[in-house]
Amino acid sequence: MEPEMQPELKKRSAEVLSEESRISESVFNNSRLMISVINRDYVYEKVNFTFCNAHNVIGSDIVGKTLSDLWGIQTFCEFIKNNIDRCFEKGEIIRYEASFETPGNGTRYFEVTFKPISVTGKEITHLIAETMDINESKLKELKIQEKENEIREKEEVLKKIEKNIPIGIVRCRPDGMIVQANRAFFDIMNCYDETTIKQVNLKSFYQQEYLFDIHCEQILERHIENFGRLSLIDCKGEEISCRISGFLALDSPDSESYLDFVIEDATRELLLENRLIQAQKLETIGALAGGIAHDFNNILTTITGYSELILEDVPANSDLSEKVNKILNAVLRARSITNQILTFSRQVEQEKVAVSVTEVLSETIGFIKSSVPSNIVINSELIGKDVKVLADPTQLFRVFINLMTNAIQAMDENGGTLSLAMKVVDGKLVTNQLNKNIVADEYLILSFKDTGKGMEPAVLSRIFEPFFTTRDVGKGTGLGLSVTYGIISEMDGEILVSSKKGEGSEFFVYLPVRHQFHQPVQVEGDKRKILFITGDKHESRMLSMALENTGFILMYFSDRQQLLHDFAVKTNSPDLIIYMTDSGLIKPEDFLPLYQQLSYPVPCIIITNQNCTSVEDKLLNSGIVKQHLVKPVSLKEIKSAIQLSV
């Protein structure tokens, strides 16, 4: 029989037990963690003080309640239940972070751990939930994350800029070895193998290596330096004009100093600059040559005059008259030269009208075709006839003849093809091509391309200068292209040329397109405009001739639509209107409403038949009519009526 435990010992052991449980109770209650014991029915069986304090409750309020009682059914189902279920089913320790609403402290971050336990020693009966407040460290972490994202985004932007910027950026060591280079540098240098360039020395792109050393010294000394424009040699061995600047990279991580070079492609800049210099040079030569030509014309007139006087004195067909005629012929040739120089220097008056370029060009082709050698082919792609420019048709014809003759002469030895093409482009697109202001919404680009001898750069830069010629003395005056240049400039256009020795040349002519309706009639400077509304073209011709030299110019429309349009857009507001009431264009009853579209009162002369209709009478009494003429009227009558009206 088992001896019964002595009462003393029993008491002692009970004391020890209760002491231990008090300690563990105290540890449990004073833990920094919120601890609770939860059974399979999601009911709290035990919670510690920290838990109660955090929730601002006392233990007896919680024990016996379910988690969904405390957290609300929604939070329980969404965030808690599945974790608890996993812990019970799999017997795993579950740890996760979550933010909860806490009484009095707002939303805070917690780390929650579910630990499965067994009271029976067999299956899992309970779990211990430990919840730690990690709000402060979590907020710090989030802030860091946010900053990291910001930095990453900025890096992306920088990377994109670095990738897309058309400026080459190269980092190299003071000895020139390239450490890093961006995409644009490879592009500018025509290099398509990025791996090799990284082993390359920046020096090797310089025409003179010592220049690179000088650049390096200057950067090391002054930290930043602009070297201006310099010709480098690209990966294909071709010269390329670049704008270079450099600075010392102070941010290098190791003690070695790096140099950063910024390299811009300056080819375009150089091209435009050269073109501008070219244009200015031609302008100067033009002014000079124009002045000389002007004086020469005076002298030539004197020579002609006296020669003609001599011819009056000597018998016709005499020896002397023959000689004088030779003088006159020489003067004619000299006159043609001065005239061409004046055209080049834009001092010849051109009578500009709206001209269909296609019409003039096909006329020129037709004219020139008969004299073209059989080994030369002319291909032309012309567009519709409605593309009009403002030009003197004769001068435009001269431009085309000159360009085509030159092209044919460039090919006369071996034959070839002259290709003509034309297209209309938006004015904005040619802004960069032209040295002058854009004057029209659209530009016509004509191209004359030959497969002839081509020209060297030295020749190319001088072809528009007067008297510059590559032909033998006596063959051509060297004025053709100068004249062409002058005529095109006078039209607010431009002529450009590209050529390669042995491959041929291409001339581009840019002309501002004039839409007929925008500029129906070009009116000379100081002349006063008379709008003549009549159905009869001959009547307007007669009147137009009668008005010659009187300071008036006649605007005449044969088309009703065009007349109405001109009224609506007010492009050419007339100073006087002459209206024939029997004109088919505007009926008498329509005239007054049309007249009222004008922004200011314009004097009117009305011409009617003998017997006025009631509508005509009304018009005559409306107060706008200055003069009333009755058919038939003489030109003299009209002229005096005009004088009286204005």
Binding site: A293, H294, L300, T301, E349, G525, G551
Partner: protein, 124 residues
């Protein structure tokens, strides 16, 4: 006999025109620039003026305006050897200002005579 005033700064050219006109029995007066012409201009004694446009001392365009003021019925022929002012050019401007005919240099003296005769014929 019709009376013609020649305004031209080029002495040789002026002399040549003068010689030709005298030969055709015109009464000729001459001036070497616009200022001189205006100073000595006698409206009642002048039927027609031949004037250069680009001259020192009062250019031809101003001369045309002033002569027209002094004698509105005066016939004027403007002569120019190129040079441009504004979009219309000198000759067009001269026309607009009231020149009855314009001739560009170099010209044939016979053409000038024809123009002068035409203008003076119209008068009669």
């Amino acid at each position: 006999m019709p009376r013609v005033l020649i305004i031209e700064d080029e002495a040789e050219l002026r002399e040549m025109i003068k010689t030709t006109l005298i030969r055709r029995k015109y009464t000729v007066m001459e001036a070497s620039n616009g200022k001189e012409a205006l100073l000595h201009f006698k409206p009642s004694m002048t039927d027609l003026v031949v004037t250069d446009l680009i001259m020192p001392e009062e250019d031809g365009l101003k001369v045309i305006i002033k002569l027209k003021e002094l004698k509105p019925s005066l016939k004027i022929i403007a002569v120019s050897g190129g040079g441009k002012a504004g979009p219309g050019g000198y000759l067009n401007l001269a026309k607009a200002l009231g020149a009855h005919a314009v001739i560009s240099k170099p010209f044939s003296i016979n053409d000038l005579i024809v123009k002068i005769e035409e203008l003076l014929d119209k008068e009669q």
